[in-house]
């Protein structure tokens, strides 16, 4: 799990610079043939998923009957503090990140001051919407959070949507969502400490010092509930999809079983019907959970930040600083 956190933080930083830098400023003139670069970028989007499918076909033994299992472990890296298992989750997560990177490149390459392509409109719309969402929920002070929230939203939504291609969605592994939740927890604590660690410790003794243990528990319940919420929703969708497919198989066998030969084995009810439920469990639930995770991140970080006290302190500091400089100036004179 620590490795996960490093991966994600690295990715978030890259991606945030990317969104901020590319869309707002005009990119340099490209020298390559634009159609070729487009093709390369689209290839870059699809290739990771193809690689994932290939890995799944080649390395993971096919399940017999109904099998609901966790991520397949490809191999274990020997490290001084116990082995680090490299699982399907990590591999798929990196594939999603590469795919996202190429989507960003595709959307943002060849930007012009006066947009003439649809993809630039789309990129601008995404950035504007994210900034509007962040400013509306967190206030002006946190306007720089937009790239981070955009990265969380994109990574989470695409990780959940990976299940549409038949691969293992990384978000249905607790390690991934727990990694994200710990990242958010660090952020929350950092912003709570903005007015000094003493004020942070004091906040646990509110409203009565007697309630301090409960406050500590609820502090740690935040990341736990965030991780479990995302993981539980995606995993339950997967489990229900598998159970539903099996049940429909049984139903079609029950009704068509008396027919002779291969006619009796036609999975009649499995044609199309699971797709209808997949619209809810895969597409809607995945996107909703991504939105909720981003939303809760924003609310917790902005809610934990003691805005009034912080700005008062800043004002006092600037006043003191200006007084000091004026006194120094007087001495110099």
């Amino acid at each position: 799990m620590p490795s996960d956190i490093i991966h994600y933080s690295l990715f978030f930083i890259r991606y945030s610079f990317f969104l901020k830098g590319c869309v707002k400023e005009k990119m340099e003139k490209q020298k390559l043939n634009p159609k070729l670069t487009d093709a390369l970028l689209i290839g870059g989007m699809i290739l990771p998923i193809a690689v994932g499918a290939l890995l799944k076909i080649l390395l993971i033994p096919a399940a017999e009957g109904v099998e609901i299992s966790g991520a397949h472990i490809f191999f274990t890296l020997p490290l001084p503090l116990g082995g680090l298992p490299i699982t399907e989750t990590q591999v798929n997560q990196w594939l999603v990140m590469f795919s996202l990177l190429f989507i960003c490149l595709y959307l943002t390459h060849g930007l012009k001051a006066i947009p003439d392509r649809k993809r630039q409109h789309l990129a601008e719309w995404i950035v504007e919407q994210t900034e509007k969402l962040v400013k509306g929920n967190m206030g002006e002070y946190f306007a720089d959070f937009a790239p981070f929230i955009g990265a969380v939203l994109g990574l989470s939504a695409f990780s959940s949507l990976l299940s549409l291609t038949g691969l293992f969605p990384p978000t249905s592994d607790l390690n991934v969502t727990a990694g994200w939740a710990i990242l958010v927890f660090i952020l929350i604590t950092y912003y709570k400490m903005k007015c000094g660690p003493i004020r942070y410790l004091k906040s646990f003794a509110e409203p009565v010092p007697f309630l301090a243990p409960l406050n500590v528990i609820s502090e740690f319940a935040t990341p736990v509930s965030m991780a479990f919420r995302h993981y539980g929703n995606i995993l339950s969708g997967t489990v229900i999809s598998v159970l539903l497919a099996t049940a429909l198989q049984g139903l079609s066998r029950l009704i068509l079983g008396w027919l002779p030969g291969f006619l009796g084995e036609i999975p009649l009810f499995r044609i199309g019907l699971p797709a209808v439920f997949s619209v809810y469990f895969d597409i809607f639930s995945g996107c909703l959970q991504a939105f909720i995770f981003a939303m809760l991140t924003m609310l917790y970080v902005a809610g934990g930040f003691p805005a009034e006290d912080y700005f008062k302190k800043q004002k006092q500091k600037t006043k003191k600083a200006s007084k000091k400089t004026s006194i120094k100036n007087l001495e110099v004179i």
């Binding site: 609901i68 299992s69 966790g70 509930s225 479990f228 919420r229 993981y231 539980g232 929703n233 995993l235 339950s236 489990v239 909703l288 959970q289 939105f291 909720i292 939303m295 809760l296």
Partner: protein, 95 residues
């Protein structure tokens, strides 16, 4: 005798998972209330539909948490606990 013990472990794990999912009642009622209130609000002020819907989805997600705790425990009981407990039993018996 060993078969009986393992059978009891498996059966009790399944029963526990089923009992854990009773917690699904709470979020169901809670989310129903939330959606009912949201419908009422939209009926009173149709122009605030977007805000009400996003707030409702947020509230639903938070209300769902207890249900999801139960779900995680049920999943652990079904997929993880039996192996662990049977291993412990076999070790205790000495096989």
């Amino acid at each position: 005798m060993l078969e009986l013990a393992i059978g009891i472990i498996l059966g009790c794990c399944a029963l526990g998972a089923g009992a854990a999912m009773i917690a699904g009642i709470g979020p169901g009622i809670g989310e129903g209330n939330a959606v009912a209130a949201a419908c009422e609000a939209i009926g009173r002020q149709p122009e605030s539909k977007g805000d009400v819907t996003s707030t409702m989805l947020m509230g639903c997600a938070v209300a769902e948490t207890t249900g999801l705790y139960a779900l995680v425990i049920a999943i652990l009981l079904i997929f993880v606990a039996p192996n662990l407990l049977v291993d412990i039993l076999l070790k205790a018996v000495g096989k």
